[in-house]
């Protein structure tokens, strides 16, 4: 390796620390090392003038049992690789050979193998092989940067297979931080957690974000109920904003990704256009991901500006490596099934002929299980191949992946192809580095399950009167209608908006979402001198979605016109990003150093597209699904879509000041100009952050068993721009037939940007030679000046008006504890606990405003809103009328009644705290990992249960009949106690979609066996295949504790509303998989 930088240093009895510091000053390189490594390494005598960096380093470290590696501008110092030459042979030495791999079975090159207590050792070659002469009593110490050190006793073994576990928290780990800047982990002043790519591919899910669930403290992932291809809601440290997105920002290789929230359901009805459009992150090929680092708080993200206010998920993708050519093949096949099903009563039949309800006589035979005729086994097959390789000058990475999945609802399918190509090259004497990366993704989703009351096959499936075998409607979901000259129409006996023939919906209301996405990244970096480099980057993320839904003739007349309907939408979202960065790294004196960046960025986001919905007007000719066949184009439903064009221009700077190797200060400042602030008094906003970090273990002498100690604190402010058009919504839009619809949202020209103030303190401790580590963080964020849409009195001529107000506070604690139970023998076992709690509180809204609705109450007795003193996601509903003694008031009809005065708060779906317990075991060729996680506290509502009760199909409604009624603590009009009430009277009054939702709140606590993966690495030696690993995986295997009739983690919408309510969502999945990884 040659580096152009030269170093001049001379002196005697210099400490290594001084040497490093001098080199650092002269070259701009930063050193990363465990301070303990330098202990008792002795002094250095050196006289070098204008020598190159590697020569000097070699000289200094030659006799110090230390070695180094250089990544970017960081020099990582680590224990020396033992010399390749075998030391003088001891008596009766036996040769052993072995292979060292990572936990995924990939061979590791240049791993140091050292005989404990000697200087003898070896290094692994490109295929991870080594050989060494040893004695049976010897212990080998295997160490490699970024992995846990392992000791192996030779014994009778002459062929060792050693698997090193990646240490996510190794000292000297380099983390990728804002703008793609790599920094040593110990120097950062905020909480960050890194997850290796392996974690994402261990037990696969069609949406890769779901595989992070339970693994990161403070990260809450709610998967949508939208089947394969569905989105995931990813929230770090609690929801902050009512109207703006609360989801984390995704950054790929330093550049923000377009993660525009796609279409989401927004009412309890669901319906034909309330589909989940799929989140952009889920399109990624998990095999392309090298690692993910999660920057949890605003401080970490301050440099990303508005978008980073909710935390950042930084994704580093794989690149080709110099000198090593590998071909990897990964294949996985997963089977999935419903993890639970609603519970039905099987003994009472239909109320009376023609009735939709099941309050009738006892059945003579047990009711047929209709669900088995409906749900199928879901599958997910993924195949990915990647080629990586290169020279010192150029590196190449190519990958192709195919995902093919089907959901548990018949006809729900996903097909995805990912192609990725990345090339890195060095020019001009290695001073100029050019990198370009192209990703092309096609994705096709068929029949996304639609939650809610309309167009959902589950309503008919669940509510149909018991005792009827529905398979008659499966094979013949349509029949010929003579009055329409043989047109095939729906076969179903009811005209009810909420239930139609499930198989008719699947086959005759098909929807389809096609996505084509091109993601281009390019970067040029030039080293001006040893202190300065300049970098220019650009990216284009262009996503085209075509959605199509056909509604065949003879849907229920509420839902679609007589001749059917057609919805077609074509939307292209285009994000362009560019930045120019000047990186500096300047030492001051012997002990101070300032590194940092100043730069500017521009991000431009624009949608373009059109939507056509035949709406209530419908089609001329039945079942012809073309735009030509629309009876009318009603502008209410159809036409050009808003561009939602936003442009953000920013300048920013950051400085990281370090003193020796134990004191670090971070300062950042950023100013954004946002086009979304047009028409308001100020177009820009400024926000700073400051962070502080002290490595206690380097400052003071701590007991031997304390390996490392650090305290950190930071304060940040992050501004956030409003959404497009909020400041001046269009005053009129076109309605039917050229009519005008006046906007019912008042203009808001004194709009101010939202501000989040965030404070965090954290500390990190490691004990017993890093065997036990604890990392804990307290944070508090206050989000102010929120843009809120407030319901107006209609007499103002508006439905809503915006205000800037509020103070929403999130505070919480996150902690990660890891312990290596065994690491010195064949058996490795590390265990980790992560804990997070977040408390959300609405401290204030605005004078005179104490209410802000996220999801309205239309159509069901569920409403999600903010109220001062409450918290994000409070659920409002109706409750039973009770007397002063808490007894249920029974009216003259013998039925319970609803409390007057509208909806009241009946719970909050937010989890109180989360706990994840992760275990990784390794024994010989086997690895076993297991994740148990629990979400504790919170309440969720089930409208599914409420409707099943009203219809008399639920198990509880049957049990109550068997028991002769429902036991209650009630009182009638004349003051007499009522202890029992007829089951039908009770459930038909409290149940249903518009009844007493307070009776349908459930404890959301859920503890589950989230993930199990058992791996076997096939021992191979010197053959074509370098590594081969098989894994058996399972996800969501066991609910140790679950009280709600559905999985509270599921969400109907990944937007801000509709949280904590189940309205006929597809059940959560349990899956089993088999995967194969091979490296050539």
């Amino acid at each position: 390796k040659t580096y152009s930088q030269t170093v001049s240093i001379s002196g005697r009895h210099l400490s290594l620390y001084e040497v490093f510091n001098t080199i650092s000053k002269q070259t701009g390189y930063e050193f990363v090392y465990d301070a303990k490594l330098l202990d008792s390494k002795g002094a250095v005598n050196i006289n070098a003038q204008g020598q190159n960096l590697s020569e000097v380093l070699d000289k200094c470290l030659n006799d110090k049992a230390l070695t180094y590696s250089i990544m970017d501008k960081i020099i990582v110092i680590s224990p020396k690789k033992a010399p390749r030459e075998v030391a003088p042979a001891p008596i009766a030495a036996t040769p052993v050979t072995g292979t060292v791999t990572d936990s995924a079975g990939h061979p590791l090159q240049n791993v140091s193998i050292q005989v404990k207590g000697t200087s003898r050792g070896a290094m692994t070659d490109a295929s991870g092989h080594f050989s060494l002469d040893v004695q049976p009593t010897d212990v080998l110490v295997i160490s490699y940067i970024g992995f846990d050190k392992q000791e192996v006793t030779i014994g009778a073994n002459t062929n060792l297979n050693i698997r090193l576990a990646e240490s996510n928290k190794q000292l000297g780990t380099v983390v990728v931080t804002a703008l793609g800047i790599k920094r040593s982990e110990k120097s950062i002043t905020y909480a960050a957690q890194q997850v290796s790519g392996v974690e994402l591919t261990k037990a696969k899910d069609p949406n890769l974000m779901n595989t992070l669930n339970g693994k990161v403290a403070g990260l809450t992932i709610s998967s949508s109920s939208s089947g394969v291809g569905g989105s995931a809601k990813v929230i770090l440290r609690g929801s902050k904003s009512g109207l703006n997105t609360n989801q984390a920002l995704y950054v790929i290789d330093g550049m923000p990704m377009n993660n525009t929230l796609t279409n989401q359901p927004n009412s309890s009805y669901g319906g034909s256009t309330a589909y989940d459009g799929g989140d952009p992150i889920s399109n990624m090929n998990p095999e392309d991901i090298e690692s993910i680092s999660i920057l949890k708080g605003a401080s970490a993200a301050a440099l990303y500006g508005s978008q980073g206010a909710n935390g950042v998920v930084l994704i580093t993708t794989k690149s080709g490596k110099a000198g090593r050519t590998t071909i990897s093949y990964a294949s996985g096949f997963t089977l999935s099934q419903a993890a639970y099903k609603p519970e039905f009563q099987n003994s009472y039949g239909v109320s009376r002929t023609g009735s939709t309800q099941s309050w009738g006589d006892k059945l003579t035979t047990k009711a047929h299980n209709n669900l088995d005729d409906f749900f199928q086994t879901g599958t997910n097959a993924t195949n990915a191949i990647s080629l990586a390789g290169g020279t010192e000058k150029t590196q190449t990475y190519f990958s192709y992946a195919n995902t093919s999945a089907r959901g548990i609802q018949p006809t729900n399918k996903l097909g995805r192809n990912n192609i990725s190509f990345k090339e890195t090259g060095k020019f001009l004497n290695d001073k100029l580095t050019a990198e370009a990366d192209v990703n092309y993704i096609t994705q096709k989703i068929d029949n996304t399950p639609l939650s809610g009351l309309y167009f959902n096959p589950l309503t008919g499936l669940y509510l149909y009167p018991r005792g009827t075998d529905l398979s008659q409607y499966k094979s013949d979901f349509e029949i010929s209608d003579a009055s329409r000259n043989g047109l095939m129409v729906q076969k179903w006996p009811f005209h009810e908006d909420v239930q139609q023939n499930p198989w008719w919906i699947l086959n005759r209301n098909p929807n389809k979402l096609n996505r084509n996405r091109l993601l281009l990244n390019a970067s040029l970096k030039y080293e001006i001198n040893k202190y300065l480099s300049i970098q220019a980057r650009g990216s284009v993320d262009r996503m085209n979605d075509v959605y199509d839904q056909k509604l065949y003739a003879d849907n229920n007349s509420y839902l679609a016109p007589l001749n059917g309907g057609y919805v077609y939408q074509n939307l292209t979202t285009n994000q362009q990003y560019g930045d120019l960065l000047l990186n500096f790294n300047v030492p001051f004196g012997k002990e101070w150093r300032v590194t940092g960046v100043v730069g500017g960025a521009i991000r431009d986001l624009k949608n373009s597209g059109e939507k056509f919905n035949s709406g209530k007007e419908g089609l001329h000719i039945a079942n012809v699904f073309t735009l030509n066949n629309f009876t009318a184009m009603n502008s209410v439903n159809s036409g050009t879509l808003p561009d939602n064009h936003s442009q953000y221009q920013s300048v920013f700077g950051s400085a990281n000041i370090s003193f020796k190797d134990w004191f670090y200060v971070d300062l950042t400042a950023r100013n954004d100009w946002s086009s979304n602030l047009a028409f308001t008094p100020t177009l820009s906003y400024f926000y700073p952050s400051v962070g502080l970090n002290v490595i206690l273990s380097s400052v003071t002498r701590l007991p031997e068993w304390v390996s490392f100690a650090k305290v950190r604190g930071s304060y940040a402010q992050v501004g956030s721009s409003p959404q497009t058009y909020q400041s001046y919504p269009a005053r009129n839009s076109l309605g039917a037939e050229g009519s005008i619809i006046g906007n019912t949202i008042a203009p808001f020209t004194d709009l101010k940007p939202e501000k989040t103030n965030s404070l965090e303190f954290g500390t990190e401790w490691r004990f017993f030679n890093n065997r036990l580590s604890v990392d804990a963080t307290y944070y508090k964020t206050n989000t102010k000046n929120q843009t809120m849409l407030i319901a107006a009195s209609w007499a103002s001529y508006y439905d809503y008006y915006y205000i800037n107000a509020g103070n929403i506070q999130n505070q919480g604690v996150e902690a990660v504890v890891r312990y290596d139970v065994f690491r010195d023998s064949k058996l490795t076992w590390n265990t980790g606990l992560n804990f997070a709690t977040n408390q959300n509180r609405i401290i204030e809204l605005a004078p005179g405003v104490d209410d802000f609705t996220l999801t309205g109450a239309s159509g069901s007795n569920y409403s999600s809103k903010f109220r001062v003193g409450g918290s994000f996601g409070d659920i409002y509903g109706n409750v039973l009328k009770k007397d002063a003694q808490g007894r249920i008031v029974i009216n003259s009809d013998g039925a319970p009644t609803k409390q007057d005065g509208g909806m009241v708060k009946i719970g909050n779906s937010n989890t109180k705290f989360q706990l994840g317990w992760n275990n990784n075991l390794g024994y010989k060729h086997f690895t076993l990992s297991m994740l148990i996680d629990g979400k504790f506290g919170g309440k969720v509502m089930s409208v599914t249960q409420s409707m099943m009760d009203q219809y008399g199909v639920s198990k509880v409604s049957g049990d109550a009949r068997d028991a002769g009624g429902v036991k209650i603590n009630g009182v009638d009009g004349s003051g007499n106690a009522v202890t029992s009430i007829d089951a039908q009277k009770w459930y038909t009054t409290i149940g249903g979609r518009e009844a007493i939702s307070g009776e349908y709140m459930y404890n959301a606590t859920t503890v589950r066996l989230r993930e199990v993966a058992l791996g076997y690495t096939v021992p191979l030696k010197d053959i074509f295949i370098k590594a081969l690993k098989f894994s058996l995986t399972g996800r969501n295997l066991i609910y140790f504790y679950k009280k709600a009739p559905f999985d509270p983690e599921l969400t109907m919408s990944t937007a801000n509303g509709l949280s904590g309510v189940d309205i006929f969502m597809q059940p959560a999945l349990r899956s089993y998989g088999l995967s194969l990884n091979a490296t050539f």
Partner: protein
């Protein structure tokens, strides 16, 4: 560089006020929206708004219609379980779809530039907002649109006074325009789905509306009622609607459909009420086939049969009543939406005559007979000897499927005018025939039923109001919407004190009290 920011942040699908200027769209389109919202179908095809604005309250309480759909598990407005989620729509439409577009006409100076057009706008506003105050009682009117919050309520008495004053201005402007033979620089017919730009007809409607409003308040303020009625009928002021060609009805077409017919045909959410069916059956009324279709339920013989109000409960399924009479042959999806007819005006004149006020235009009997005849003509049916039928009385209700709902006729009133009868009998006869003639406009029918007690309707079959609404009184108003409690609480509280009693369905509005 931020010079494009305003362009980026402007909704490309929006229509700015400036873009509406060409072709006077900034006058006409707003006016059209208001016209289409009195009975709301301004959204196009979807009649959801109308369903909760009127069909699931006034249309039922007037005895015209009943829903076969057991909404909310059979607990809903139709059996006096008042639905908070439904009962705000009339208010919402009143402000957002009627007053708001009309306020834009004032903002763009239509009031001074084209006073005759502004007069039409005012008339539409009064036609629409009078219905809103008749539903709730006190509402924000004089200060509506003045601020974003804390909008004061006016008492109903004040609102009616204001209506009369505004009608004064509107009629004066119209008369001025007509008398001077002025013209507009644009074709008003393009923007008028009622009278195709005929200002004389607007003037006659304005006077007829004044007459209607005058009689609304006869119980609470007889002096004003008399003065306003006489003013309305004074020929010097331009006259009232005298022929069916002058009926106030809003034309529909294209994406716009008659919302009542839509929910009857396409949703089967509304069916004929037992009351109108029993009166028409009992009177052998020739209008019956125009108004009603015959039942289609396979389990009963084909007949004109309505559903008794409050009969549909949680134990019913929609199929139970879906085959009872739907709307009759006179109705199609393009039937204009009727707000006021010549027949109604004759009946109003009959009442003026009956009360002995001036300008009635004829005797009570003449006006009564004229009203019936005009109605028969309107529906293109032969009147036969209807007016001389002194024996037919309303039929009893016999529910062919659920006998528990059977009920004896509530009235023995006959058709033929009897000048010797007592005032109350004459009033019942007059209002009963007016009620038959006003079909299917349930809002005004409910108002007149509340004011006069006629026609006598079957008591609700099941009363789920929890004792609030009395069977023999029926629903007197709709409670204020939850939205007002949430957004305008302080002023609403004052509004409720103007109402004078609890905010529930049993409290009588100002004109409903003596």
């Amino acid at each position: 560089c931020t010079k494009n920011f305003e362009k980026y942040n402007t909704d490309n699908t929006g229509i700015s006020t400036g873009q509406l200027k060409p072709d006077y769209n900034d006058v006409g389109i707003y006016l059209l929206q208001a016209e289409r919202s009195i009975i709301n179908f301004s959204g196009g095809g979807d009649p959801n708004s109308y369903q909760v604005q009127q069909n699931l309250n006034a249309d039922i309480f007037s005895g015209y219609f009943m829903s076969p759909n057991p909404f909310n598990g059979g607990l809903n407005n139709s059996n006096y379980f008042m639905m908070t989620g439904w009962n705000g729509e009339a208010m919402k439409v009143g402000y957002l779809n009627i007053m708001s577009p009309i306020s834009k006409l004032r903002a763009n100076r239509t009031d001074t530039a084209y006073p005759a057009v502004w007069a039409v706008a005012q008339i539409i506003q009064i036609a629409g907002m009078s219905r809103v105050t008749d539903i709730y009682g006190p509402i924000p009117y004089s200060k509506a649109g003045a601020s974003k919050s804390d909008i004061p309520y006016d008492s109903q008495e004040e609102i009616y006074k204001r209506f009369f004053l505004e009608l004064d201005t509107a009629t004066a402007n119209l008369q001025n325009f007509i008398n001077k033979g002025e013209t507009l620089p644009f074709s008003f017919a393009n923007f008028d789905m009622v009278y195709s730009g005929d200002f004389t007809k607007w003037l006659q409607f304005a006077n007829s509306l004044r007459l209607r409003l005058a009689l609304h308040i006869v119980k609470a303020d007889e002096a004003t009622a008399k003065a306003q009625a006489e003013k309305a009928l004074n020929p010097a002021n331009g006259g009232v609607i005298t022929a069916n060609s002058g009926n106030m009805a809003v034309r529909v077409g294209g994406s716009f459909t008659n919302p009542l017919v839509y929910i009857d045909r396409n949703w089967a959410d509304t069916r004929i009420g037992a009351d109108i069916a029993c009166y028409l059956n009992g009177y052998n009324d020739p209008r019956i086939s125009a108004y009603l279709g015959k039942s289609t339920d396979k389990t009963i013989t084909s007949q004109y049969i309505g559903i008794r109000s409050g009969a549909v409960t949680g134990s019913n399924i929609k199929d139970d009543y879906i085959g009872y009479s739907a709307l009759g042959s006179a109705f199609s999806l393009t039937t204009p939406i009727q707000i006021m007819t010549a027949a109604e005006v004759y009946f109003l004149q009959a009442e003026v005559a009956l009360r002995g006020w001036a300008n009635a235009g004829g005797s009570a009997q003449e006006m009564y007979n004229q009203g019936v005849t005009t109605s028969m003509n309107q529906w293109n049916v032969a009147i036969g000897n209807y007016l001389s039928d002194a024996t037919s009385t309303p039929a009893a209700y016999v529910d062919p499927k659920f006998p528990a709902n059977d009920k004896a006729a509530q009235s023995a009133i006959t058709i033929k005018w009897d000048d010797a009868a007592l005032f109350d009998v004459k009033m019942e006869r007059l209002i009963t025939q007016k009620w038959i003639a006003m079909f299917p406009e349930g809002q005004e029918a409910w108002t007149e039923h509340r004011r006069t007690g006629y026609p006598k309707l079957f008591p609700v079959a099941h009363n789920q109001s929890g004792g609030v609404v009395k069977d023999d009184e029926g629903v007197r108003r709709l409670p204020y919407p939850q939205q007002e409690y949430n957004t305008n609480a302080t002023e609403l509280k004052k509004g409720i004190s103007l109402l004078g009693d609890a905010d529930n369905a049993a409290t009588r509005v100002w004109w409903d009290k003596k």
